[in-house]
């Protein structure tokens, strides 16, 4: 929405400056109108409101309020559930996507609150993970039936809650180790079916959390190495075979960026947690990280904004870290600030030069296309 307002200003300015005529300006305005996402600020606020209402419902259940008999509470939950799903479907039938999605979200959260309420009524001390799984299954079925993008995102969020509970319980590693990938594959299927966009990011984030949970549980370095290598391979796939990956997944840039993130996370973990006793080991891994950052800039920095900024950030942090790890301990406070200042200025010069170079490369790429 903000983007379309900004671009309309530009169109007006170009028209005034005589760069484009009125017909072109009108065409451009119509095109902006048409491609504008239907899920602007209003949609975001509707989702936020729904999340807040859902939180209120859950806390009301958790408070175990005695004034309302529990049967009344159950009936209220069921009514909310029906109101949310049927009301949301009614809005959808009228073409009102925003409020239909918000109502679906309330209903899905209410289902979880209902499971919690019944657990409380009958003092079920059993597995919290089972409750989370039932909740996730309910949300996934609803997402499938109603073909709702927000319900897919909700399902993935509940899967994240399940992972958290399984880690917290400490007794379920054998189950979540295989169940979580299955749940994420189902979620990916739902993403494809509903064309959900936000849920894709959720899936990747849960997957990264899963890798580290698995590593924490089984304490095997190869889990991280495998994840890091896979991440690097995905980054290279996006950098070198963009067209193919884009045709295959329609999400090439993000896949490359998340792969890059995974690789950097793994290398950072090894630097800080595994090999932090020997400075020389840290320096070796540090150079590996710097090499990755430069590879990120050179290979896909000119077209992948996320990779570009991750590369800049990690490069700067790593240079500063290595500098202070190796020479920082030898010098006094004043010279510390002096060298820090010089180093940051050098990094700034590097970023500015790099940006200029990348802009040239972008222009070339556009010229070629």
């Amino acid at each position: 929405m903000a983007f379309s307002i900004g671009i309309k200003k530009h169109i007006a300015r170009w028209q005034e400056a005589g760069l484009i005529d009125e017909v072109t300006a009108d065409l451009l305005r119509k095109d902006v109108e048409k491609t504008r996402t239907s899920f602007g600020l209003g949609g975001i606020l509707a989702v936020l409101g729904a999340v807040l209402l859902g939180a209120a419902i859950i806390s009301l259940v958790a408070a175990n309020w005695e004034i309302l008999p529990r049967l009344v509470r159950v009936v209220m939950i069921i009514l909310l559930l029906w109101g949310g799903y049927v009301g949301g479907a009614w809005r959808a039938s009228l073409g009102d996507i925003r409020f239909s999605e918000a109502l679906y979200l309330i209903a899905a959260i209410t289902f979880g609150a209902g499971i919690a309420l019944i657990g409380q009524m009958y003092h079920l001390s059993g597995e919290a993970t089972d409750a989370a799984l039932l909740w996730a299954a309910g949300a996934m079925i609803a997402a499938l039936f109603l073909r709702s993008a927000i319900l897919v995102a909700t399902s993935v969020a509940i899967v994240a809650i399940y992972l958290f509970m399984a880690i917290d319980g400490g007794n379920d590693a054998q189950t979540y180790a295989w169940l979580l990938p299955v749940l994420l594959v189902i979620s990916a299927g739902l993403v494809w079916y509903t064309k959900a966009e936000v849920a894709r990011h959720f899936i990747v984030l849960v997957l990264i959390a899963y890798v580290f949970a698995l590593f924490d549980e089984f304490d095997d370095d190869w889990i991280l190495w495998l994840a890091g290598i896979t991440g690097g391979a995905l980054f290279l796939a996006d950098a070198l075979a963009t067209t193919a990956l884009q045709r295959l997944t329609g999400w090439s840039k993000a896949i490359g960026a998340y792969g890059f993130l995974m690789l950097l996370l793994v290398l950072n973990y090894f630097q800080f947690d595994r090999y932090d006793s020997e400075v020389s080991d840290q320096v070796i891994i540090g150079f590996g990280i710097l090499a990755c950052a430069i590879a990120g800039l050179v290979l896909s920095g000119y077209r992948n904004l996320a990779v570009r900024w991750m590369s800049y950030s990690i490069f700067s942090l790593e240079v500063l870290y290595l500098a202070f790890k190796t020479i920082g301990t030898l010098i006094g406070t004043a010279s510390f600030f002096l060298s820090a200042g010089v180093l940051v200025l050098l990094l700034a010069a590097f970023v500015v030069r790099m940006e200029r170079r990348l802009q040239k490369k972008i222009a070339q790429a556009e010229g070629a296309a």
């Binding site: 049967l71 939950i77 559930l81 479907a89 039938s93 209903a107 003092h123 309910g138 109603l146 993008a149």
Partner: protein, 190 residues
């Protein structure tokens, strides 16, 4: 996103499925309360500091920890948690206590015995000669905000009896909390 009238029917189907799941949960527990056999177990304080976590009281029992040598039958081979069947018998003071444990459900129970199903909490195949911690799904009692203190104090004097309904399959459900014969809380069916 579907549109049109069909979506409303789909909304109704989803609402029915999810309320059905909630109803099935209620009915499963209510049926144990309705037709299960009642036993009384004495709850044990674990650590007075740790009783009140949020808004539930943690309950522990004699049968929550069992030595591996007390369990008969063949231990399941696969990893993870395992089902375990504990036999209870009524004592002179009306309280029920441990009368045997088996990895498989027993069919030779005496009429004055009841079988309760639990699950081992530590990995069953790791602890060949140690103590199993076992949960039965009756380890929490949810109370309205701020009311846990009273139960906590009673429990530190070690005289909270928990009335438990046990179904034919061995599933347990808390029915009431008592202290020296006085009912503290009693659960309605619904």
């Amino acid at each position: 996103m579907f549109t049109g009238k069909r979506i409303i029917w789909l909304g109704i189907v989803v609402a029915m499925l999810q309320s059905g799941a909630l109803y099935a949960m209620v009915e499963q527990r209510a049926s144990i309360l309705r037709s299960g056999r009642d036993v009384i177990l004495l709850s044990q304080p674990i650590d007075p500091r740790d009783f009140l976590r949020g808004d539930y009281v943690t309950l522990s029992y004699e049968i929550s920890n069992l030595g591996a040598d007390k369990i008969i039958g063949k231990r399941p081979d696969e990893g993870g948690r395992a089902d375990i069947y504990v036999t209870l018998a009524e004592g002179a003071d009306k309280r029920w206590s441990f009368a045997g444990a088996s990895w498989q459900a027993r069919t030779d129970l005496k009429p004055d015995q009841v079988q309760i199903r639990g699950r081992t909490l530590n990995y069953a195949h790791f602890a060949a000669d140690s103590t199993y911690h076992i949960t039965y799904g009756i380890e929490r009692y949810y109370v309205p905000e701020g009311q846990g203190r009273a139960i906590e104090e009673q429990q530190s004097e070690r005289n909270i009896d928990v009335v438990i309904a046990i179904s034919g399959e061995g599933d347990a459900q808390i029915r009431a909390l008592r202290s020296s014969g006085k009912v503290l809380y009693e659960e309605p069916l619904y």
